[in-house]
C-alpha cells in the first residue's frame, strides 16, 4: 500500500519531471508563498528582536545538549523508566521495525494507528508492519491521503502539499465513494468518519516524538488535527519512536522550542495541540494507554557528532521553514529529492544517512542562496553543510565509520579534469591572459553581437557546460578588451597622472 521514493541518485531526472508538471508547480508556489508570508507575519507579531534572541537561545541549548548527548539521553531514559515507560534501543531502521512489529504482536494488535512522524517514515515502518500482517493506518489527514494514493509525502509538515483538491476528491470518490466534486470540508468529514472507526478499533498507537525531556522523562508531540492525541490516548499501548537527537535537558526548555517551531513552519503561534506525556497511566481509572514504549533510534545519527559542521544537522527541529524558503524546493517539491527528508535539510541529512556516494547529487541541488539559513529557527548553516558534503563528494569520502565505503561511485572524471585545467589556467597571470586570449579567439564561432544567442546555442551544444547554459539563456561573450588591458593602457595612467607621476615602462 505504501509508495516508494523516487531514486535518490537521480535528482536531475526527478527534478526535470517535476518541472514538467504545471499542476504541481502551481500548488507548490501557492503553498510556499503562503507559508513564507505567514511566517513573516507571526514573527513581526512577536517582534523580530525577541524572535532573534529566542533563536540564539534555542541553538545554544541544542549545541550544549548535543555536546553531552550521552549524558542527557541516559538521564531521559532513566527518568522515563522510573515513570513506567519501557525504553528500547535500535541501531538501524530494520532493527527498529523488527522491534516495533514484535511489540505490536505482543499487544495482540491487528490494527495500528499512526500519527505523523518523519522518523517512522525514515525507517519505512508502515511497509514493515504490513509485511508482518498488521493493518497500519496513517491518521494525519495529509498522510492518510498519501497512503490512500500509494505515494510518499512531499513535505515534512504538509505531506500532500503536491496534490490538488480535485485530485484528492477523485481519490476519495474511488476509495470511499464520496462525491467526486466534494469540497475540502466534505473530504475532511469523510476522512474523519473513517478514521474515528480506526481509532476506536486499534490496539496500538504509534507516534513520533518532537522533543524528549531528560529532566522528567517526558515526550512532546505537536499537531493540529487531534489525531496524535487519539493515537496516544485511546489504544491500550502507545509506542513512540524518537531519534537520539530529540532530547532537551529541561522541561522548561520546551517553551523555547514551542515558540519557534510552529511560527517558523506554518506561521502559527502554536499548533492546536501539544501532548506532553510522561509514562503510562498509573491510575487504572484514568484515561490513556496502559503501556508506553519508547524506541530510541540511531540509524546513522551518531556519525554526525564528531564535526561541528555535521553535528549541526542534529539540531534540526523539523519545522519545514527551509523547504518553504528554498527556491529549488519551490520549483520541484519534495519527491524529486528521493528521500523522506526533502528540501535543504534533506539535501544535507539524506547523504549523511544513505551515503554521500549514493546521494551525491543532493548537495548540488542548491544555488547556495542561503535562504534556508536565514529562516532556520535554530540557525543551521545549511550552505556550509552543503559545501562540506560537496567536498566529500569530490574527494570520495564517506563519513568515517559509515557502512557506505563499497558504494562509492567513481569520482566525476570530466568535472575533476575540468577543474584541474581551470586551476592550471588561473594560477599564473600569463597562463590566464593567454588562456583568455585563446578563448576570445575561439568564441568567434558562437558569439554574435557580443552574445551567444539562439543561433550560437546550437553549436554550443558540442561543449556541454556551455550548451547547458545557452539552451535557455543568452550568454554574454568575453569582452573584446579585458579590464586588465584597459587598466594597463589607460586607467592606470590616469591614477599616476593624478599623483603627478609619469608612467614608467615596467609593470607590476
Amino acid at each position: 500500500m505504501s509508495g516508494s521514493q523516487l531514486p535518490v541518485e537521480r535528482f536531475d531526472a526527478n527534478a526535470r519531471d517535476a518541472l514538467g508538471d504545471p499542476v504541481l508547480r502551481g500548488a507548490l508556489r501557492r503553498a510556499t508563498d503562503l507559508f513564507g508570508e505567514r511566517r513573516r507575519a507571526a514573527i513581526d507579531d512577536v517582534g523580530a528582536d525577541d524572535f532573534e534572541a529566542l533563536r540564539d537561545h534555542a541553538r545554544a541549548i541544542k549545541d550544549a545538549t548535543l555536546a553531552h548527548l550521552d549524558v542527557h539521553l541516559e538521564r531521559f531514559v532513566a527518568q522515563a523508566e522510573a515513570r513506567g515507560a519501557k525504553v528500547h534501543w535500535a541501531r538501524t531502521g530494520d532493527e527498529a521495525c523488527e522491534l516495533l512489529a514484535g511489540l505490536c504482536a505482543g499487544a495482540g494488535a491487528k490494527t495500528v494507528v499512526k500519527s505523523k512522524s518523519m522518523t517512522t517514515e525514515e525507517i519505512e515502518l508502515g511497509a514493515a508492519l504490513e509485511a508482518h500482517g498488521l493493518r497500519s493506518i496513517e491518521t494525519d489527514l495529509g498522510e492518510w491521503i498519501i497512503q490512500q494514493a500509494g505515494e510518499v509525502p512531499s513535505h515534512i509538515i504538509v505531506p500532500a502539499i503536491h496534490k490538488t483538491k480535485a485530485q484528492i476528491a477523485a481519490l476519495f470518490a474511488d476509495k470511499l465513494g464520496t462525491d467526486p466534486e466534494a469540497d475540502e470540508k466534505a473530504l475532511t468529514a469523510a476522512a474523519r468518519d473513517v478514521l474515528r472507526r480506526e481509532f476506536a478499533a486499534a490496539e496500538v498507537g504509534i507516534s513520533g516524538v518532537n522533543f524528549a525531556v531528560a529532566e522528567t522523562g517526558s515526550i512532546l508531540i505537536l499537531e493540529n488535527e487531534g489525531n496524535a492525541r487519539f493515537t496516544t490516548s485511546l489504544p491500550k499501548v502507545h509506542i513512540a519512536v524518537m531519534g537520539i537527537e530529540k532530547v532537551v535537558p529541561r522541561f522548561e526548555d520546551l517553551a523555547v522550542f514551542l515558540k519557534l517551531l510552529p511560527r517558523s513552519g506554518t506561521g502559527q503561534h502554536l499548533t492546536s495541540y501539544q501532548s506532553i506525556l510522561t509514562g503510562p497511566k498509573q491510575d487504572p481509572s484514568a484515561d490513556g494507554p496502559e503501556e508506553l514504549h519508547i524506541v530510541v533510534l540511531d540509524n546513522g545519527r551518531s556519525r554526525f557528532l564528531d564535526q561541528a559542521v555535521t553535528r549541526a544537522s542534529l539540531a534540526c527541529i523539523r519545522c519545514g521553514a527551509c523547504l518553504n524558503a528554498c527556491p529549488v524546493y519551490q520549483q520541484v517539491g519534495g519527491h524529486a529529492y528521493g528521500s523522506v527528508y526533502p528540501g535543504p535539510i534533506g539535501a544535507v541529512i539524506t547523504p549523511q544517512l544513505v551515503g554521500v556516494g549514493k546521494a551525491s547529487q543532493l548537495p548540488y541541488a542548491s544555488s547556495l542562496c542561503g535562504a534556508c539559513r536565514e529562516v532556520c529557527p535554530v540557525r543551521i548553516d545549511i550552505p556550509a553543510l552543503l559545501l562540506h558534503l560537496r567536498q566529500e563528494v569530490t574527494e570520495g569520502h564517506e563519513p568515517s565509520g559509515s557502512p557506505f565505503g563499497a558504494q562509492r561511485r567513481p569520482a566525476k572524471r570530466g568535472e575533476r579534469l575540468g577543474f584541474r585545467l581551470w586551476s592550471f589556467g588561473v594560477r599564473g597571470r600569463l597562463r590566464y591572459e593567454w588562456g583568455s586570449a585563446l578563448a576570445r579567439f575561439g568564441q568567434r564561432l558562437v558569439v554574435r553581437g557580443g552574445y551567444v544567442g539562439k543561433v550560437g546555442a546550437l553549436l554550443s551544444r558540442l561543449a556541454p557546460p556551455l550548451g547547458a547554459w545557452t539552451g535557455t539563456r543568452d550568454l554574454r561573450g568575453l569582452a573584446p578588451r579585458s579590464f586588465r588591458a584597459r587598466w594597463r593602457q589607460e586607467l592606470r595612467h590616469q591614477e599616476l597622472r593624478r599623483q603627478g607621476l609619469t608612467p614608467s615602462g615596467g609593470e607590476r
Binding site: D70, N224, L234, G401
Partner: protein
C-alpha cells in the same frame, strides 16, 4: 538485542564526542547556557493577561465568555449546550462541575461517563476545567493527573472549558514550570490552542478534522 543496541549506540555517541573534543572542542553543557529571553507579559497584571489571552485565541474562532462566579459559569455552560443543541454531554470529574449535569438531566439531557470512550464517540459535547491559561499563546493547559478530561476534551465535536481568571499565566515557560510537582511531570499535560484543524487539502483551513470542531472558553472568578 535492545541491551546490546543500547551499549552500541551510547558507545558510538561517546566515541564521536571524544573525537570532537580532541578536534575542534565542544561547547559547555546545558547549565552554561543562560536563561531564556524574558517574555514581556511577565510584567503584566491579571487583566492585561486575560486581554492578551483573548487577543490570541479569539482570532482562531474560539468563543470566550467572561462571567462572575462559578454558578454563573455553570449557568452559561448549560445555556451554551442548549444553544448548540447538545443532547448527550460528557463532563469531566472536576469537583467544580459536579452540579452541571444534574440540572441538565432534569431537562432531559443524557450524561456520558468521561471514561467511556465508546459512549464519548456518540456525545455531542464535552465539558471540563482547564488547569491554566497561557496569555502568550492563548492556550489552555490540561493536567490529566488533576482531572479526567483527556478524552472529554478530545472526542466530542464541541468542547467547553472553564478557566478561572486567576489561572491565566504570562507565558509558556511559566505554565510548564507550574505543571511540575517537585520536578515531576504529570502523566499527560495537554496544551490546547483552538479547535482541531487541518490545512492538508490545498492549505484551506478546515476545523474539526479529528478533535472538536468548536472550542468555547468560559472565564470565571470574581
Amino acid at each position: 538485542m535492545s541491551r546490546a543496541a543500547r551499549e552500541t549506540i551510547l558507545g558510538a555517541i561517546r566515541k564521536r564526542l571524544r573525537e570532537a573534543r580532541l578536534g575542534e572542542g565542544l561547547p559547555e553543557d546545558r547549565d552554561a547556557v543562560g536563561p531564556a529571553p524574558r517574555h514581556r507579559l511577565l510584567d503584566a497584571d491579571a487583566e492585561q493577561l486575560l486581554t492578551a489571552f483573548r487577543a490570541r485565541i479569539e482570532p482562531l474562532g474560539v468563543l470566550v465568555h467572561e462571567v462572575g462566579g462559578l454558578d454563573e459559569a455553570l449557568e452559561l455552560v448549560r445555556a451554551r449546550l442548549r444553544d448548540a443543541g447538545a443532547r448527550t454531554v460528557a463532563c469531566s470529574d472536576a469537583a467544580a462541575l459536579s452540579d452541571l449535569l444534574s440540572r441538565e438531566l432534569e431537562a432531559g439531557f443524557q450524561a456520558v461517563d468521561p471514561g467511556d470512550s465508546e459512549a464519548l464517540f456518540g456525545a455531542d459535547a464535552g465539558v471540563c476545567c482547564a488547569q491554566a491559561g497561557i496569555a502568550e499563546t492563548g492556550s489552555l493547559v490540561l493536567d490529566a493527573d488533576r482531572e479526567r478530561h483527556r478524552l472529554v476534551s478530545l472526542i466530542p465535536p464541541l468542547h467547553i472549558a472553564l478557566l478561572h481568571r486567576d489561572r491565566v499565566v504570562p507565558d509558556l515557560a511559566t505554565a510548564l514550570r507550574d505543571a511540575l510537582t517537585e520536578g515531576r511531570a504529570p502523566t499527560a499535560l495537554t496544551l490546547i490552542t483552538g479547535p482541531s484543524r487541518t490545512a492538508d487539502i490545498e492549505l484551506k483551513l478546515v476545523v474539526g478534522v479529528h478533535g472538536p470542531k468548536a472550542l468555547e472558553i468560559v472565564v470565571h472568578g470574581d
